[in-house]
Assembly symmetry: C2
Homo-oligomer: 366 residues x 2
């Protein structure tokens, strides 16, 4: 099967780029001297998980559906990184009774009490806010000790995520965020140990901060995710280069407006998402950057300037709209690969060329 | 099963509101005296299609996957409203060989020639641009005749969509757009008839323009879609009221920031979409308006102010963040129901209360 044979729109995954991205992160984390617990919320694919953790070791997920799926594919050691609720605790306990070692996350005293008294086997990490302000306790919050006491022997460790690393636009800022993520998590863990708790896991990480070298004293593991595929936004903030982006959307030309140098394609808000994250970076790529059918940037800064549900409007930079026949193909590099991939139920895998060497399913929903 | 038993996030469909919306549109279109060909790209559900077209009659779809699905559920008379490509023409021809009467849409002379010479049975409508500028020929475009000639006896009619009706903010503007949609489509059809072509279908419509009374001379059918469920954006532009919104996202509280009157919920960019269409209206609802667990607007202007992949940040207007326990429920009215529904694989159906009276699957992908 060739790319030309595929129905559009669809996701194309370049396995060579994926392998390079995985190797780069594995090497960086090995240099840090801690464990890599890849976050599978981006890829949602057991085939990708087996490459990211060839030993079948620890993963991170963000939904019950992902936990169930990766457990069914042989990955037992999982952290569910989105804060737990009583209902989801029941679901996790059922999965753990079926062989899972799924750990949950909380920053709430009442929830900690519910975890402690749950009849099933569930361990929990306490979430620490290291500056993003989304969720978690301050590392110095007086509630930390009481929550740990509530959890008792179900306390598995400390969990932090510097999601605000995505807002950094220079390496000094990013390094400061990475260091605070490490220091806050380590300090919180030390407070627990000083109070007599075991704290076996001290888990941090985002793709940008995981690549920052330096001191990781007190940290046991790191949880990047988007690094596997990369995207335009991550390229803009320096996590990787544009030619490391492993996932693109293959799409067909369905209309032409030569006088305006515009094309209409069959990838719109569903196939691409409405993510506009490059809007705040040096190169606003609209709803995605237009590559040629081979995935090369021969069309310069051509980009999607508008989307409807199933239509995308391309403003050409290089090239001539009349040169694109109806049905001809282009590929779109996504602003945010997590959201773009989410609408698709499979990856068509290539090794850089136009041969489809594998089809990998991916899951969706909750 | 009760709403409280459902895993979150999930889609809740209020069947009473759906029925009211369907009745209102059916009545308006009956008054116009033309046929209703509902667009199923919003609902993507055979259960909803059976209510919208109880006679099993004509539907509109936007993807091959939708065409295949609705054909498999007994709806043969379908217009695929997204402009056709050679590859998709092959797919449609296969579906038509299996009993479909799927009609395609084009505005391209080369594509018309490909349709004419295709060995399978496929009829086509010529797309007319009535002011949006997305796709289609001007009603007076000299190419109209040659494309009709190319299609020959495969010409099924004229197709227009006033998508720019969504940008109207007053009834005078909206009425002008609706009238032009009708007049342009009718004029294009008359040009074809004057040239000796049959033109059995003259198809127009969007949810806002379908509700405008007045002259529809020359028009045979109308294709609204979002009216079935409604959303905050459609309520803002006056297609319906806020209490007509039939689809909401049921979500659980996973975090609280009482000092800031903020909640964190388990519905984020995937469960809600990143659509921000109310941003340009009188009431910016962020990424969605927060309703109580019963779907009532008792929380005032509380809204989602930020989303991450699986997290939504609620800024409370009424109410107290401390009053929401971890795991308690709220419901989110969506900005754009087509995009919000797309991430979910089923509807949990209620009749206004908290009993789940049915579970209706919906499809996704292409």
């Amino acid at each position: 099967m060739k790319l030309d044979d595929l129905p559009t729109p669809c996701l194309v995954l370049d396995r060579r780029r994926l392998a390079r991205n995985l190797e780069r992160m594995a090497s960086a984390v090995a240099t840090l001297g801690i464990a890599l617990r890849p976050h599978m919320k981006t890829a949602k694919s057991a085939d990708v998980a087996r490459l990211a953790r060839p030993d079948g070791g620890g993963l991170t997920v963000s939904t019950i559906a992902e936990a169930e799926y990766f457990l069914a594919h042989g990955f037992a050691d999982i952290i569910l990184g989105t804060a737990i609720t009583p209902q989801k605790l029941d679901q996790v306990a059922r999965l753990n009774a079926a062989g899972g070692q799924i750990k949950v996350v909380t920053d709430d005293a009442g929830m900690a009490a519910a975890i402690a008294r749950h009849p099933g086997a569930v361990a929990a990490l306490i979430e620490i806010d290291c500056g993003e302000g989304r969720s978690g306790l301050d590392a110095d919050d007086p509630l930390l000790g009481p929550i740990a006491d509530q959890l008792g022997d179900r306390l598995a460790g400390i969990f932090a995520h510097a999601g605000h690393s995505y807002a950094a636009r220079d390496s000094v800022t990013l390094t400061a965020i990475a260091m605070r993520e490490r220091q806050d998590a380590a300090r919180a863990a030390q407070r627990l140990r000083d109070a007599g708790h075991e704290c076996p896991i001290v888990s941090i990480g985002s793709s940008p901060t995981a690549l920052i070298p330096g001191d990781v004293t007190g940290i046991t593991e790191i949880r990047p995710g988007v690094y596997m595929f990369g995207d335009l936004f991550q390229a803009e903030i320096g996590t990787h280069g544009r030619d490391d982006i492993a996932v693109t959307v293959l799409t067909s030309v369905i209309g032409r407006r030569p006088a305006e140098q515009r094309l209409l394609i069959d990838a719109g808000a569903l196939a691409l998402s409405r993510d506009r994250s490059t809007e705040t970076t040096a190169h606003d790529c609209g709803f995605g950057l237009v590559l040629d059918a081979g995935g090369e940037p021969s069309l310069g800064a051509s980009r999607i300037v508008r989307v409807w549900q199933e239509h995308g409007l391309v403003q050409l930079d290089h090239g001539n709209a009349e040169g694109f026949a109806i049905g001809s193909r282009v590929r779109i590099a996504p602003n945010h690969t997590c959201l773009t991939s989410a609408a698709h139920d499979r990856y068509y895998v290539v090794d850089g060329g136009d041969d489809v060497v594998a089809v990998w399913p991916r899951i969706h929903g909750w």
